[in-house]
Symmetry: C2
Subunit: 110 residues, 2 copies
DNA sequence: TTATTATATTGCAATATTACGATGAAAGGA
DNA sequence: TCCTTTCATCGTAATATTGCAATATAATAA
């Protein structure tokens, strides 16, 4: 059906999967890497940097903004995007807790 | 079009997004959490644990197996799944490198 | 005002994902 | 052998995602 049954999962499980879903497209990974690399806000040069059409980039930026990982400042006709460092940090905490689950070596049945 | 243009992205970007995509569904997060919690192999009790039908669980397990995060041992009529600890560790390294990008506070334009 | 520039939104086509009933395959027990 | 249990696969319906052309919007420049 294409419709995820979110109601049967915990808040934490839904949060983790929502974050991961945003990272689940290479264009969004590339956008974030570029934002980190230039370590400053960017405007529309993402369209040139990544090889996708302007509406497609705009759509990916919307996803990133929706989950709070980036924010934008209007400066004239262009918009300056950058990482929302506080939200990025919070996201990292949530995701790291999931990734760092105990890897007990005592049990090795497989 | 629903078709991701993987060819225009780097190997690393595609790897990160492939991993994240697998985590992008709460059922798969729940399966992994359960596998960590019982810290031992499990069989088909995931169907009872999570509220999804058996074919659906089987499909999610397939995704997790495809990317190497879990492995299964046949024991009689049942199959015993568990985390592939080595692959989990490698995955964590890749993802952590992405999450731990430098958060330089010197630049605060937004 | 009109034109230009930068970004967002709309609408749509192609493809992917999610979920499950029905069925298949493989092993063990009666 | 036949039945049961356990899991995988197939087929299909409903929904989501991706990508882009066309268009809208908003700010500035001429």
């Amino acid at each position: 059906m294409g419709l995820t049954k979110t109601e049967i999962f915990t808040l934490e499980q839904n949060q983790i999967s929502s974050i991961a879903k945003v990272f689940g497209h290479p264009a969004r990974v590339a956008i974030l890497q570029h934002l980190f690399k230039i370590d400053s806000c960017i405007c529309g040069d993402l369209v040139g940097e990544i090889g996708l059409a302007q509406p497609t980039i705009s759509q990916h930026l919307k996803e990133l903004k929706k989950i709070g990982l980036i924010k934008g400042n209007i400066t004239g006709t262009s918009i300056c995007y950058c990482i929302d460092k506080e939200n990025w940090s919070n996201m990292k905490t949530t995701l790291t807790a999931f990734l760092d689950q105990d890897l007990d070596d005592s049990n090795t049945c497989c």
